[in-house]
Amino acid sequence: MQKPSINHSFQYPGSIGEMPSGPCADAGVLVEANAGWRVFRPVLDAAKCVKCLKCWLICPDGAIDRSGKDYAIDYAFCKGCGICAYECPTKSIRMEKEGDDVE
């Protein structure tokens, strides 16, 4: 999957001296996932998917991955809005209720 991932080695500054000189931070640094927002999760049926790119384009979170053999969903950052399933022309994505094991 070619998606930005959580930087598990991120460390907060340990002293005033370690703080940046102004209110800035490294761009593109993620320290936490958005998975906990989800009530329903999109599940992709690769057999029905025609890789039309629609879900990849319209996902507000960019959570659809098209880099592998089949499209995949980055569940760390998918918020479960359901746009991909609603818009999918071949109905290849269905929304399933999350269990209690979501982080």
Partner: protein, 303 residues
């Protein structure tokens, strides 16, 4: 035109905290896919700042900063001047601001910036109210929409927003800038093509993008694209572009769907009835009469 298969894999906006189904999220990430890694981005205090850059989660991967609310246009001017001073090549100076940050408090600065002719790309994502502060009306809030500062009132009281949406596109066209367009998340190919044109414009360019907001408008998050389409098909949003001194209408529905089919999908219009639907439809027809008289439909060359 942009071939979507050629768009880069890399996400330059990722891990943001926007509400599920947020069209502004889609807009911002697609724009960055076109402008690319050599983009300097400014965005004002807005939903976009709140959901992308609260320490330490930084969702933008390009150099970016939060600008003061009123100042997006002006900071872009300063950045464009810096690009010239530093003799940088092949970079995009990009601003992404909301409707309030563009058409209300930021209007003076964006007018100044485009009037000066700086090479900047300014994008207004229009979710038709101050969403970040809790859905207050802006000058781009449409007629009849209930917001927290234009409430619908109790039965027989107010109808929500009492004014028609300001035509920001025509305001920007009046500046006679090299490139100016409207777009919608309903038509991604059109949107991407316009971003690419704007990026390549040697001078100021402006995009006004209709971006439905599930939270503020009151609809299910999965229906963002559908709501955007209904706005276009009912004639309440239009796709147009201005270049080489003339306006082209990119899309004209063969027949408008009734506005109620758009209005009834959203909680903000739920209090409206046939009387208000008529007012909106009449206003739409007046606007389109103006548009049709002044602007050229797509595909028709000037004689």
């Amino acid at each position: 035109m942009v071939n979507v298969r050629d768009l880069p894999e890399r996400e330059l906006l990722y891990g943001h905290k926007a509400c599920p189904g947020c069209a502004a999220g889609t807009v911002a990430r697609l724009i960055l896919k076109v402008t690319g890694e050599r983009t300097f981005l400014a965005y004002p205090a807005s939903c976009l700042s709140t959901v992308t850059s609260i320490y330490p989660q930084m969702a933008f991967a390009v150099p970016s900063f939060t600008a003061p609310f009123a100042a997006t246009g002006a900071v872009l001017s300063g950045m464009a001047a810096a690009v010239k001073a530093k003799k940088m090549q092949d970079v995009t100076v990009l601003g992404i601001a909301g409707d309030g940050g563009t058409a209300d408090i930021g209007l003076q600065a964006v007018s100044g910036a485009v009037e000066r002719g700086d090479r900047i790309l300014y994008v207004c994502y229009d979710n038709e109210a101050y969403m970040n502060t809790g859905i207050q009306r802006s000058s781009l809030t449409p007629y009849g929409a209930a917001t927290t500062t234009s409430p619908a009132g109790k039965a027989g009281g107010a109808i929500g927003e009492k004014k028609f949406k300001k035509n920001l596109f025509e305001i920007m066209v009046a500046h006679r800038i090299p490139y100016c367009a409207t777009a919608s998340v309903a038509n991604i190919a059109d949107l991407l093509g316009k971003v690419a044109k704007a990026k390549d414009t040697d001078g100021p360019s402006f995009l006004h993008i209709h971006a439905p907001c599930p939270t503020g408008w009151g609809f299910a998050a999965e229906r963002t694209m559908e709501i955007a389409r209904l706005a276009v098909e009912s004639g309440l949003w239009f796709l147009a572009e201005y270049q080489d001194g003339r306006v082209t209408l990119n899309y004209r529905p063969k027949e408008f769907i009734p506005v109620r089919e758009y209005l009834k999908t959203q909680k903000r219009f739920r209090h409206l009835g046939p009387a208000e639907w008529n007012v909106i439809e009449e206003q739409r027809d007046r606007e389109w009469a103006v548009i049709s008289g002044r602007w050229e439909p797509a595909g028709r060359e000037k004689a």
